[in-house]
């Protein structure tokens, strides 16, 4: 059996007395897309942020391609800043509020970390960054500063920026939640392309349509626990847990009169 790309065992995180994540297990094979659903406050974002140690987990093991994240080999000693910085470059992250660097153009945003963290040659980085912006449909916006881009454009730059690190895994933290409804499709279609290209993705989202169409598996997180984990066909049509049924019913109500959930629009070229 091959090593899974990501293996999380017994992940636990508390803020004070409040248990945010309680004994979470999750395994991702290479090329898989897994969507994490759940009500707000369920711990979804905290879970993603623990994976690259933006939040320090209180217990548990995170293995990326077999390498332990956050702890130094063979012990419980946490990694130093420099070691953490290195392992973080193996996971790309896409933020809810885009978090583009405001002083840099779209192209510079994409080039920044490959140039100054990975220290790859400028010519190579530039060619790759231009190709990535073209891939997300923003070749003509490369000189634009974030302040002059729409939300959907910002998020597509955010995705190109994450891809430029050549990450093994992409983490999406509610990538479409701060977008106007008509801009959601352009971001989802880029993510759909990535999935088809074989990118491994862990996506925290409220987009049921995307989860249903694109995910290999869907996870429902509630009150810091995994309530249900299943392939989308069963998750959406024959959930086992009562809590999942409630959650889906509430979404179905809030979504009508616009059923069925959105199917991503056609690919940008």
């Amino acid at each position: 059996m091959t090593t899974p790309l990501l293996e999380v065992r017994g992940l636990r995180k508390c803020f004070g007395a409040h248990v945010v994540l309680d004994d979470i297990d999750l395994v991702l094979a290479r090329g898989e897309t897994v969507c994490i659903l759940g009500p707000s406050g369920a711990g979804k974002s905290t879970f993603l942020r623990c994976l690259n140690w933006l939040e320090k987990p209180d217990a548990g093991t995170i293995l990326l391609g077999g390498e332990r994240i956050g702890h130094r080999p063979g012990g419980e000693a946490p990694m130093r800043d420099k070691e953490l910085a290195r392992v973080r470059t193996r996971m790309g992250m896409v933020f809810q509020q885009f978090a583009l660097w405001p002083h840099l153009s779209a192209l510079q945003n994409v080039m920044e970390a490959p140039l100054h963290v990975q220290r790859r040659p400028r010519a190579e980085v530039r060619a790759e960054a231009e190709a990535l912006l073209a891939k997300v449909g923003l070749a003509d916006k490369r000189e634009a500063f974030p302040a002059h881009l729409s939300g959907g454009q910002k998020q597509r730059v955010g995705i190109a920026r994450a891809l430029a690190m050549r990450p093994e895994l992409l983490l999406f933290d509610e990538p479409t939640s701060s977008l106007d409804p008509e801009l959601v499709g352009e971001v989802l279609s880029v993510m759909e392309d990535l999935r088809r290209d074989g990118m491994t993705m862990l996506v925290v989202t409220h987009e049921m349509g995307f989860a249903r169409e694109a995910a290999n598996r869907v996870v429902l997180l509630d009150q810091g626990r995994v309530v249900e984990e299943d392939v989308p066909e069963r998750f959406f049509t024959a959930p086992r847990a009562e809590r999942t049924r409630q959650f889906l019913a509430r979404y179905a109500n809030s979504l009508s009169p616009n059923p069925p959930p959105r199917v991503p629009a056609k690919v940008h070229e």
Binding site: A85, R86, W101, H116
Partner: protein, 218 residues
Amino acid sequence: MSRGWLIVWAHRDELLQGLATTLWISALAALASLALGGLLSIALMSRHRGTARSARAFVDTMRCVPFLLFVYVVYYGLPSFGIVLGNWTAGLSALIVYNTGYMGELIAAAWRALPREVIEAGHAFGFHRFSLFRRIILPPVALAAAPMIGNQVVQIVKDSAFLTIIAVAELTHAATNIQSFYFVPFAAFLSAVLLYWVLCVAIEQGVGLAQAVAERRR
């Protein structure tokens, strides 16, 4: 009346030399206090409590002491601790130390206003420590703080006039010399005022340019 202007005109070299000194000492003080203020802002924003508190105490002290008194302390007070500075060095040091407090605080204010996610993205993409500060935090903070930094530079130019009391031969000192020798207060002082005004307008133009650059990124 016109006698006054003629006398000032005859001594224009003295006045211009004073202006040159004002320019020099202000420019040096601005650059040095900006650089030190940048370092001070790191201390102000430090997670280490003791560091942040000491930095805060320094800023509060500088903001509460009148600059004139501070110059007296540096020039007349420090010699009792065996630190004797020439008047030019004492004046420049006083300007630098005093304004480092202000620069540090206004850079820290712009830093606090930077969205948390922007810095977090820096961490997530592998920046840490100095590279994080240098590439992710400092550039947007500098752009956001540019107008306030410009104001502070104007303040430095005006504060440098106080250095006349420790006989630094700057613009106010030159004007005072001319007026006390020939008793032409209106012409001498107004000439100095006009020259300060020109200097400050020039600085404001510079700030305007910096703001135009910042505006594209806002």
